[in-house]
């Protein structure tokens, strides 16, 4: 079964600086999708960024970008110019192209210091 591991339960960053959240996953499949979700205190799950495994180019959405290393099964999220509103839980997720189940990591709580 696919598993997703986020090894950093908590991270902290100074406002306007850059932070990288780590995620690794275990799979024997070659076709899949990876996601980062943000969960602010409101509890709402918000999609931050998405990566298709067959695309080598790393996805970018404004201040958010990923470093996708398929061979290493690594999918880290970089947040540039951190803002106070970025403070939240961040979940890495894996979605097989074949199965109907998105697997989530345990999450990383990001604190942004003013």
């Amino acid at each position: 079964a696919q598993t997703v591991t986020q090894s950093q339960p908590e991270m902290s960053v100074q406002e306007a600086e850059t932070v990288t959240l780590s995620c690794t996953y275990d799979t024997s499949e070659s076709d899949y999708y990876l996601f980062w979700y943000k969960q602010p205190p409101s509890r709402q799950m918000i999609l931050v960024i998405r990566q298709e495994a067959y695309k080598q180019q790393n996805a970018t959405e404004n201040r958010f970008s990923v470093n996708f290393q398929k061979a290493a099964k690594s999918f880290s999220l970089k947040i540039s110019d951190s803002q106070l509103g970025d403070a939240a839980m961040y979940f890495c997720a894996y979605r097989s192209a074949r199965l109907s189940d998105m697997r989530f990591g345990a999450g990383t709580r990001l604190t942004v210091k003013p």
């Binding site: 339960p9 709402q44 192209a97 109907s100 989530f104 999450g107």
Partner: protein, 113 residues
Amino acid sequence: NAGVTQTPKFRILKIGQSMTLQCAQDMNHNYMYWYRQDPGMGLKLIYYSVGAGITDKGEVPNGYNVSRSTTEDFPLRLELAAPSQTSVYFCASSYSQGVYGYTFGSGTRLTVV
């Protein structure tokens, strides 16, 4: 668009009681999902549905039941509530198999005492 609507937002149940968590989406998504979120554990899939009349078990289905009589609605039934079912429950939906991600509801915090 309202997206995915979950009710109630909070609920306290006594051990042995039953309840239904409601979920409705207005995006005409075929796929719908129920997850539970426990502290430090991420989200785990309880049940999912690929269309009206079709449901299947996820990773943690014990103690729950679902039905999908319409495309829009996907209620989750808890029978004989137990303290282990204290959690935050999320309903989600997706277009096709969700390769573009899921749209989540705002969650239901359930406490069983």
